[in-house]
C-alpha cells in the first residue's frame, strides 16, 4: 500500500546553506514514526516544508499519493496533514471549548458559515465532547486558555491538531517543557491516539521515542542518515557516534 506521506528528493537551500538535503522519506499508514537528530539537523525546516510554511527548492511532497508540494498550508490541513508546535501556538483569549469548536467546525466547512451560531449543530458538539474527553480537557473547557496549566496547554495543542481529523499528525516535541507531574497524562494520551492517525514524532527525549515509535529516522546535517526499526537504530553504532555522541556532547 502507498505510504500516507512521502517525500521524494526534497531539497531546501537558504542561499549557500543546504538545510534539507535530498530527503526521501516514507510514513506508512498507521505508522508511529520518530524523526530524531542533533540540534541544527534540519528537523524544523523539514516540518516547515511538509506543512507548507516553506517551499522546497526541489523535490516532491505526496500526501496519500497526491502531490501537495505547492499547495497552500491551509489546503494541506484540509487534505489531512495537521501539526503541533514545539512552542505552544494557541489562542490565549479563547477557551479550549472555543478552540476545539473552531477546529471542528472549520473541518466541517463551517468557517464560511456566518449566520448560524457556533455550536448550534449537534454533530459539532458531539465531536467536541469526544475530543475533550480524549485529551482530558473536560474540566477546563470554559477557562481562558492563557490561564491553563502548561501540561493542559500542551494537551490542547495536540487536541486542536487532532480536531481537524488528520490522516497524518506531526507532533513537534509534544512533551517539551512539561513538568514531571503532568507528564504522565500527556504521554498516555499520545500513546492512546487512534491507529487510523499516522504520527510523525519529532523528539529529543529518547525515552519517549523508544516507547512510542515503531520506526525511527535519523536526520543529520539536513540529510537522512539512517532509518530502521527501534532496535536497528538504537543498536546502530554509527547512530550512537553521530547522534548519541552529539547529545552527550550537548
Amino acid at each position: 500500500m502507498a505510504p500516507v506521506l512521502e517525500t521524494r528528493g526534497l531539497v531546501k537551500r537558504f542561499g549557500g546553506l543546504t538545510a534539507t538535503n535530498d530527503v526521501s522519506f516514507r510514513l506508512e499508514r498507521g505508522g508511529r514514526h520518530a524523526l530524531i537528530g542533533p540540534n541544527g539537523a534540519g528537523k524544523t525546516t523539514f516540518i516547515n516544508l511538509l506543512t507548507g510554511v516553506l517551499t522546497p527548492t526541489s523535490g516532491q511532497i505526496l500526501l496519500e499519493g497526491k502531490d501537495v508540494t505547492h499547495s497552500r498550508a491551509e489546503l494541506r490541513v484540509r487534505r489531512g496533514l495537521a501539526r503541533t508546535f514545539q512552542i505552544n501556538q494557541l489562542f490565549p483569549a479563547m477557551t479550549p471549548l472555543e478552540t476545539i469548536g473552531l477546529a471542528v467546525s472549520e473541518r466541517m466547512g463551517g468557517g464560511r458559515d456566518w449566520w448560524r451560531v457556533t455550536g448550534s449543530k449537534r454533530e459539532i458538539v458531539d465531536e467536541i465532547v469526544d475530543i475533550a474527553r480524549r485529551f482530558h480537557l473536560m474540566d477546563i473547557l470554559d477557562e481562558r486558555t492563557s490561564n491553563l496549566a502548561y501540561g493542559k496547554q500542551r494537551l490542547l495543542e495536540i487536541a486542536v491538531a487532532f480536531a481537524s481529523r488528520p490522516k497524518v499528525l506531526l507532533l513537534d516535541e509534544p512533551a517539551a517543557g512539561v513538568p514531571e507531574a503532568e507528564r504522565h497524562e500527556l504521554l498516555a494520551t499520545v500513546a492512546a491516539l487512534p491507529r487510523d492517525v499516522s504520527v510523525l514524532l519529532i523528539e529529543h527525549d529518547m525515552d519517549l521515542v523508544f516507547s512510542f515509535a515503531d520506526r525511527i529516522s535519523v536526520l543529520v546535517n539536513g540529510a537522512l542518515f539512517t532509518e530502521g526499526t527501534v532496535e536497528e537504530v538504537s543498536n546502530d553504532p554509527k547512530v550512537k557516534a553521530v547522534y548519541l555522541g552529539e547529545s552527550v556532547y550537548e
Binding site: 498550508a73 495537521a82 508546535f85 473552531l102 468557517g111 456566518w114 448560524r116 458538539v125
Partner: protein
C-alpha cells in the same frame, strides 16, 4: 448522563448567540431616549452615527486586529454617494443608504488586497494613503462634490414616503437608530458564528489559525469589506440626516476620532463603539463648552491617559465586572459546573 454533558457544552458554546437581560435593557433605553428626550434628538442622531462608524471599526480592529488610520475613506465615500444621489434627485434615503454601503464595500474589497499585507505599520499607512487620495479626489472633483465649499442642495425625500426629516431630528434619530440596531444585530450574529470565531482566532494567533486550515487572508478580506460597508452606511446616514456633505467627512481626524471612540468604549465586544460614542459626545459637549477651541487638546490627553493607564487591562477588568453583574442579573450563571461534569464522566 452523556447527553447531559453535551447539553452543557452546547449551552456554553451558544452563550454568545443569546441575548442577555442587560443587552435587551440597553436597547430599551436607546428606544426610550427616542420617546423621552425629544429635545436631544439632534445630538442623539450624531451619537448613533458615530456609534455605527465605531462599530464598523470594531469589526476590523476588535475582531481581526487590523489597525487602520484611514477608516474615514469608507465613511466619506458613503457620505458623498448618498449626498450626491440625493442632490441629483434620487432622494429615497433607503436607496441612498444601500448605494453608499455598496460603493464603500466595493472600495473596501478593492483596497483590502493592498491593506492586508505587510506589517502593522504598512497596513496603517496604506489605509491612510487610500483615505488621503480619496480626500484629494473629492477636493479636485469640485464639479461633483462641491469641493471645499461642500455639497449643497442635498434633498432627502421622506422616509418610506411617510416621515419627513424634521428640524428637531426626530425622524433622523429614529432612522439612524434603526439602521444602527439592524446592522448591530447582523454584526452580533456574524461574530457569534463559526466565521466570527475564526476571525478572533486570526487576531489571537494567525500562525495557528493557518495551521487549523483557516484561509486567513480570505477571511480578512471578507470582514474588511463588511466593515467598509458599515462605515459607508454611517457616512450615508450623516449625509442624509444633516443634508450636507463637506470634505471634513474624509479628514484624518475622523479616522483618529473613531479610533478614540472605540478605545473609550473598548474594542472586541461590539458595544464598545456605542458606549464610546455616548461618552465621546458627552465629553465633547462638556469640554467644548469649557474651552471651545481646544477640544483637540482634550482628545489628545484622553488618548495618552488611556494608553498609559493600560487600556487592555482596564477593559478586561471592566468586562469581568460586566459579566459578573450580567450573570447576577439574569440568574443564569452558567460556567460548566466543573465538579458535576467531572463526576458524570
Amino acid at each position: 448522563m452523556k447527553s447531559h454533558t453535551e447539553d452543557d457544552v452546547r449551552r456554553v458554546l451558544t452563550r454568545r448567540g443569546r441575548w442577555g437581560f442587560s443587552e435587551i435593557a440597553f436597547w430599551l433605553v436607546a428606544v426610550a431616549t427616542l420617546v423621552f428626550m425629544p429635545d436631544r434628538h439632534l445630538i442623539l442622531n450624531e451619537i448613533a452615527i458615530i456609534a455605527l462608524f465605531a462599530l464598523s471599526l470594531d469589526l476590523i480592529l476588535g475582531y481581526a486586529g487590523i489597525v487602520s488610520l484611514g477608516h474615514a475613506a469608507f465613511f466619506g465615500l458613503g457620505a458623498y454617494v448618498a449626498g450626491i444621489l440625493a442632490q441629483q434627485g434620487i432622494g429615497n434615503p433607503l436607496i441612498g443608504l444601500a448605494a453608499a454601503a455598496l460603493a464603500a464595500a466595493i472600495l473596501g474589497l478593492a483596497t483590502s488586497f493592498l491593506v492586508l499585507r505587510g506589517s502593522d505599520l504598512t497596513k496603517l499607512m496604506v489605509a491612510l494613503g487610500v483615505a488621503l487620495i480619496l480626500g484629494e479626489v473629492a477636493n479636485r472633483m469640485a464639479w461633483l462634490t462641491g469641493g471645499a465649499d461642500g455639497l449643497q442642495g442635498v434633498n432627502v425625500s421622506p422616509l418610506l414616503g411617510l416621515f419627513e426629516f424634521d428640524m428637531f431630528g426626530t425622524t433622523a434619530y429614529a432612522y439612524s437608530l434603526t439602521v444602527l440596531f439592524v446592522l448591530f444585530v447582523l454584526a452580533r450574529r456574524v461574530m457569534a458564528s463559526p466565521y466570527g470565531l475564526s476571525l478572533r482566532s486570526i487576531r489571537d494567533n494567525p500562525l495557528r489559525a493557518r495551521a487549523i486550515g483557516i484561509p486567513v487572508n480570505r477571511r480578512l478580506v471578507v470582514i474588511y469589506t463588511l466593515a467598509a460597508a458599515y462605515a459607508g452606511s454611517a457616512g450615508a446616514l450623516l449625509a442624509q440626516t444633516i443634508q450636507f456633505v463637506s470634505l471634513d467627512v474624509l479628514a484624518f481626524h475622523r479616522s483618529a476620532d473613531v479610533m478614540l471612540v472605540l478605545v473609550i468604549g473598548g474594542a472586541g465586544y461590539l458595544y464598545g463603539g456605542i458606549i464610546g460614542a455616548v461618552v465621546f459626545k458627552i465629553l465633547q459637549d462638556y469640554l467644548s463648552d469649557l474651552t471651545p477651541q481646544y477640544w483637540l487638546f482634550w482628545i489628545g490627553l484622553i488618548l495618552v491617559l488611556l494608553v498609559l493607564m493600560d487600556r487592555e487591562r482596564m477593559v478586561s477588568k471592566a468586562r469581568t465586572l460586566w459579566k459578573r453583574t450580567a450573570n447576577r442579573l439574569t440568574h443564569r450563571a452558567e460556567p460548566l459546573a466543573t465538579t458535576r461534569t467531572a463526576r458524570e464522566i
